[in-house]
């Protein structure tokens, strides 16, 4: 994404994110409880309860993008936390012990809420944080979906949502406002609908918007879905993308190939990757990662619907189901090849990719490649090694047409 192509909306994002952080800081003064939450979490309940949700993962991604993950991590490593733990967690734990705060101080929680749909790293990190800050820890436990979604798992999750609501009433001293929940769910639906409409434009050939743009614009869908600000933000972005389509402005200058990418980007190397792909006329069009926030809540049955949406994320599904999801994306976006990022920070998105690479090529005939690195930490980044993987892939792509 070159400078001249930056979306105008980007400036608005800086503003709303600043407003969001300012709200977090002000929450403390206003005695609004600050809750740590995870990215795949029914945050709608917290917004409905009037609690400020803070995303330590977002803090980790920010520190990673600013290339200071290793600096923060070293503070955690000095305490005995290994450098192969999740990079976000190392940033968060490191910042708690750090003397300097290169991306500002992580917001201290009054309570932590974790949902383990994504991984077990988050629950362990939040356990650590709850001990460190001496605050209550609440886990929404999401059993892996072994095959098809089952009442066993969603029923368990609904029971826990009810337990969580009782806990929220305890924290706020107020009865839970179910009407407000419906409003928040409606706003979440709107946000997710807009976000996915924007992502879908990457299927156009050439496309006005791609994965690296999505990475840049995803903070509000993660942290602010359920708010009017997020809806307005993605309305503005959608309008701008539509304008670009009319004006014939595209994500990369000379799009020849569309690429599928698994999963999380390498935050400190976002620009390097986007330029590398663009230089090979390849648009990274789609990733399961940015499509995670594709919720659709049924307001007639809010709790059940929350349970289904938040437990049925790709990362909580079986090996075969996840292959099917990828192949669906391949078809929908007319993908010419796929790149799988084996991310040391993230076992649930990475373990299994070695086998999936060959299965996907066998089943689809598309070229694909796996490379190893870390989403946060440049100590695990080797440009030479990655290029040694990607260059032959680009050659294969070129010769396949």
């Amino acid at each position: 994404m070159s400078e001249k192509k930056t979306f105008k909306t980007a400036a608005r994002m800086k503003e709303i994110m600043q407003e969001y952080y300012a709200k977090g800081a002000a929450a403390k003064e206003k005695r609004i409880p600050v809750a740590w939450v995870t990215a795949i979490f029914p945050v709608e309940l917290l917004y409905a309860a009037g609690i400020f949700p803070y995303y330590p993962e977002n803090f980790g991604a920010l520190a990673s993008a600013r290339k200071v993950a290793d600096k923060l991590s070293r503070y955690a490593e000095a305490k005995g936390y290994a450098h192969d733990l999740c990079g976000y967690a190392r940033c968060g734990i490191g910042d708690a012990y750090a003397e300097e705060h290169p991306v500002g101080e992580i917001l201290k929680p009054d309570v932590t809420f974790c949902c383990n749909t994504q991984c077990g790293s988050l629950s362990k990190w939040f356990e650590v944080a709850s001990r460190f800050y001496n605050v209550p820890y609440f886990l929404l436990d999401a059993p892996q979906i072994l095959d098809q979604p089952e009442e066993l798992a969603t029923g368990y999750y609904v029971d826990q949502l009810k337990e969580m609501i009782a806990f929220l009433e305890e924290i706020t001293g107020k009865p839970f406002d179910y009407d407000r929940l419906l409003e928040v769910l409606h706003l979440s639906n709107e946000t997710c609908r807009l976000w996915n409409e924007i992502l879908d434009t990457a299927a156009m050939k050439p496309a006005p918007f791609g994965f690296f743009d999505a990475c840049f614009h995803m903070a509000p869908i993660v942290t602010m879905r359920g708010t009017r600000e997020a809806v307005e933000y993605y309305q503005a972005l959608k309008e701008e993308v539509d304008e670009r389509i009319k004006e014939g402005k595209y994500a990369i200058p000379n799009e020849r190939f569309k690429i599928y990418f698994d999963h999380i980007p390498l935050w400190p190397k976002l620009r390097w990757f986007s330029e590398l792909f663009a230089s090979h006329n390849s648009l990274v069009a789609v990733s399961q990662y940015t499509h995670s926030w594709a919720y659709s809540f049924d307001l007639e049955r809010p709790l059940e619907s929350l349970a289904e949406n938040y437990t049925e994320e790709f990362v909580n599904r079986s090996f075969e189901h996840r292959l099917q999801l990828k192949m669906n994306f391949f078809r929908k976006y007319g993908v010419d090849g796929f790149v799988l990022f084996s991310n040391r920070s993230c076992k649930p998105t990475s373990l299994g990719l070695y086998d999936k690479r060959s299965v996907l090529s066998e089943r689809t005939g598309l070229p694909g490649v796996v490379f190893d690195a870390d989403m946060s930490d440049l100590r695990f980044f080797s440009e030479a090694q990655i290029l040694a993987r990607l260059e032959p892939f680009f050659e294969q792509l070129a010769s396949s047409q």
Partner: protein, 382 residues
């Protein structure tokens, strides 16, 4: 001192697949493997299958490297390598407890590379103190029971399950007695022999095990005489696995005796019995899981793991704690600093060692253990 049954158990441990293969030949029965340690084995046994605990073997880790990243823990890499190597070909099925991210991802990779007729996962709850956990776990165990019944072609009856529970309780009770004998009289049974028997207990026909253990415990109790020689240095071991087994040799030779542990192939395997009277056997299995002490898989806010560690070490009068962690085991690593802080506050010295299945430098390990023993014991037989 050579006790015949002890020798048999040592041989079993040295060649874990031997007994199960013989049993299958004799009975025509089926074997279901499991990864350690939460799996309710009683259900496997009640279905008439041979429960086989997978915990290390001959396969080289490189045999899994095309399928699992080198930064997945070596326990799951070793298991997969063994399967690919054909070392587990006697298994008809496997149940994987989803205790962490690596175990959560393993079943799909295993199934892709080495499908077995019966494959299931045990999704234990990660929060155990709210009412939802109990209701859920009951259904989850019902599901596993149903699947095992379907694989056998006949429902597992309450009577069968109760019998298996009785047998397992008895085995656990005997193993705890053995542990106790070791704790109070390490001369009677060494560290190495104690954990060898524990290891063997996961790969042997459980009825046979019961007879062997009864005999072993009776023999040791008869033989018990006041401990001779130097006083041993008492140690508590915390972590994932006793691995490699040479750790125990190094403790034995430096005058250390293990008086407690929270390991998957240690005391955690035998700690909790299942209630036999009153409620339904499945509910008893639920209760057993929920009352288990927290481990790296999850902590319990009202009775945190680090306090259990301090309490257990103090109760056993341990002079030091040895953290035995598997490299790349994230859950253990997340707990480590707080565990360490709790021990330091209680004035209990500790040392952390990181090992891998099949790839640990033994010389360095020996030196470090000897040094630690000297430090905490103030005396050493080395």
């Amino acid at each position: 001192m050579s006790i015949e049954v002890l020798e048999v158990l040592k041989k079993t441990f040295a060649d874990p697949g031997r007994q199960v293969k013989e049993w299958k030949q004799d009975t025509g029965g089926k074997a279901i493997g499991f990864l350690l340690t939460e799996v309710p084995e009683e259900l496997i046994h009640a279905a008439g299958f041979f429960p086989f605990g997978i915990c290390g073997g001959r396969a080289r880790l490189e045999q899994a490297e095309a399928h699992l990243q080198s930064w997945a823990c070596s326990y799951v890499r070793k298991g997969l390598a063994m399967a690919i190597n054909g070392e587990l070909d006697f298994l008809d099925g496997i149940i994987v407890p989803l205790t962490c991210d690596s175990t959560r991802l393993l079943p799909g990779i295993w199934k892709h590379n080495k499908p077995l007729p019966y494959m299931d996962s045990y999704r234990l709850p990660k929060q155990v103190e709210r009412p939802s956990a109990k209701k859920y776990l009951f259904k989850e165990l019902e599901r596993i029971k149903y699947n095992l019944s379907a694989y056998r072609g006949k429902e597992i009856t309450d009577e069968e399950l109760k019998q298996s529970i009785r047998l397992y309780n008895s085995n656990r009770g005997l193993l705890r007695k053995l542990y106790n004998i070791h704790e109070h009289n390490p001369e009677a049974i060494s560290n190495k022999d104690l954990y060898t028997v524990l290891g063997a207990s996961m790969v042997i026909e459980r009825e046979k095990l019961n007879r062997y253990l009864s005999e072993l415990v009776a023999t040791l109790e008869e033989q018990t005489k006041p401990p001779a020689g130097k006083k041993k240095t008492k140690l508590y071991i915390s972590g994932t696995f006793i691995n490699p087994p040479e750790v125990l040799d190094y403790l034995d030779e430096s005058g250390g005796t293990v008086v407690g542990d929270d390991l998957k192939n240690g005391y955690r395997y035998i700690q909790d019995d299942v209630e036999e009277a009153g409620i339904s056997p499945l509910e008893s299995l639920v209760n057993r899981q929920l009352k288990k002490k927290p481990f790296a898989g999850y902590d319990v806010p009202s009775a945190p793991r680090r306090y259990n560690l301090v309490k257990a070490s103090q109760q056993k009068k341990a002079q030091g704690v040895l953290f035995l962690h598997l490299k790349y085991c994230e859950p253990e690593n997340y707990d480590y600093y707080d565990n360490l802080q709790a021990l330091e506050q209680a004035g209990i010295p500790s040392m952390r060692i990181e090992t891998e299945f099949g790839d640990t430098s033994l010389g360095q390990l020996q030196t470090r253990i000897h040094a630690f023993m000297e430090m905490v014991g103030g005396e050493s037989n080395v």
